[in-house]
């Protein structure tokens, strides 16, 4: 026990003493310690400058790259969406226009048909009217021919009957009479 106590200062103290002190026992050497500290600080500096900083920058730039790419993709998508909706709107407009035009064409056709039908009817009416008129004329003409013919027939018949005693005066009178009769008929 006294032994340990007397050893204690030696144990904790530096170089002197029989055991060389705790620090010596543990192999601690202040010069080496300082060399190690300086060495590590140097290493830290070199590593920071040539390893951690470039790596950090690289990762940061890649992160930004990725962000930019995603942003771009998003923007592209949005632009495409807008374009598509525009196209759709335009398409719808075109379709509406086409429908309207067809409607219009159909309307025109209908009108045209109506007109044609009306023309045709009018023409038919005209033709019928003309035909009637012609028929009228024809019948009048026929009638007058008939009158003439009947008169002549009557005259000839009468002439044959009265061949012998037919004077000019009598002849004239007879003609007159038959004409009158035919007219009357």
């Amino acid at each position: 026990m006294p032994n340990l106590l007397t050893h204690l200062p030696n144990l904790l103290g530096a170089a002197e003493g029989e055991g060389g002190g705790l620090l010596k026992l543990l192999g601690i050497d202040f010069n080496i310690l300082i060399i190690q500290i300086v060495g590590f600080l140097l290493l830290l500096w070199v590593m920071t400058k040539f390893f951690w900083k470039p790596l950090g920058n690289m990762l940061e730039s890649r992160r930004q790259d990725i962000n930019a790419t995603y942003d771009k993709i998003e923007a592209d998508r949005r632009a495409m969406e807008q374009l598509r909706s525009e196209y759709e709107a335009r398409l719808a407009q075109i379709e509406a226009e086409a429908r309207e035009r067809i409607q219009q064409a159909v309307g025109e056709a209908q009108q045209l048909r109506d007109q044609i039908v009306a023309d045709a009817r009018r023409q038919a009416d005209e033709i019928v009217a003309r035909a009637q008129e012609q028929a009228q004329l024809e019948s009048e003409k026929l009638l007058s021919e008939l009158q003439t013919y009947v008169a002549e027939l009557t005259l000839r018949t009468t002439e044959r009957l009265l061949r012998e005693e037919m004077t000019d005066e009598r002849h004239r009178r007879l003609v007159q009479e038959s004409i009158q009769t035919a007219e009357v008929r």
């Binding site: 010596k24 601690i28 310690l33 500290i37 290493l43 830290l44 390893f51």
Partner: protein, 250 residues
Amino acid sequence: MDERLNTLWTLTQTGIAAEIAPPVFSVLSGIAALALVVFALAATSNMQKRPGRLQNLAEIIYEFFDNLAVSLVGERGRKYVPLAGTIFLFVLFSNLMGLIPPGVAPTASLNTTIALALIVITYVQYESIRANGVVGYFKHFARWGEVPVFVSPLMFIIEVVSELAKPVSLSVRLYANMFGKEQVTLALITALAVPLFKSAYIPLPIQFPVMMLGLLVAFVQAFVFALLTLIYLALATEHADHHGEHAHAH
């Protein structure tokens, strides 16, 4: 036996790392640092938007620490990524060096780990003062406003002691892990491999399980060191946010 081994491994045999001259460890950690720088330059020399394999690995590491820092510290934790990441990579490379046969992990020396822990803890104090102000820094230690006033002095002492214990636990944890792994490997080699095979390199089957464990420990300890660095930074600067919100509220 010692003559036959004649490697750096023999030097750790006696148990205390002091047997290997500390300068050897600085040279070793220098090699680890150099390897790390070569890796870093190779990964970032020809960076492209479409990463190659090495760049991809580097980006995965970066993103991992970026996420970790943001989840632990918040958005302002981004600036701690280089420190935590460099610590992770350096410790990892150092740890892995111990798994390549003639090498010893530089982290199996307290000089290396204490250097790292001192840098971390000094930076934590600096960040704490910068975030809270000098008065706020001491108030933080006393848990001012969080505990009754008469408890504050006690809290101050406890917090200071725990703050002082941080670098010790940080450095000793890493050191003892790596040192222990080296010791166990060495014990297996000297006790079994050398008598049986007359060589320290041939009898891989004997050391292999320990080496696998060492691989796991190498990653876990490197991660724990970086994780604790971030957590200490988060704890030291967390109050700044509350004060900030408070100030904004008024």
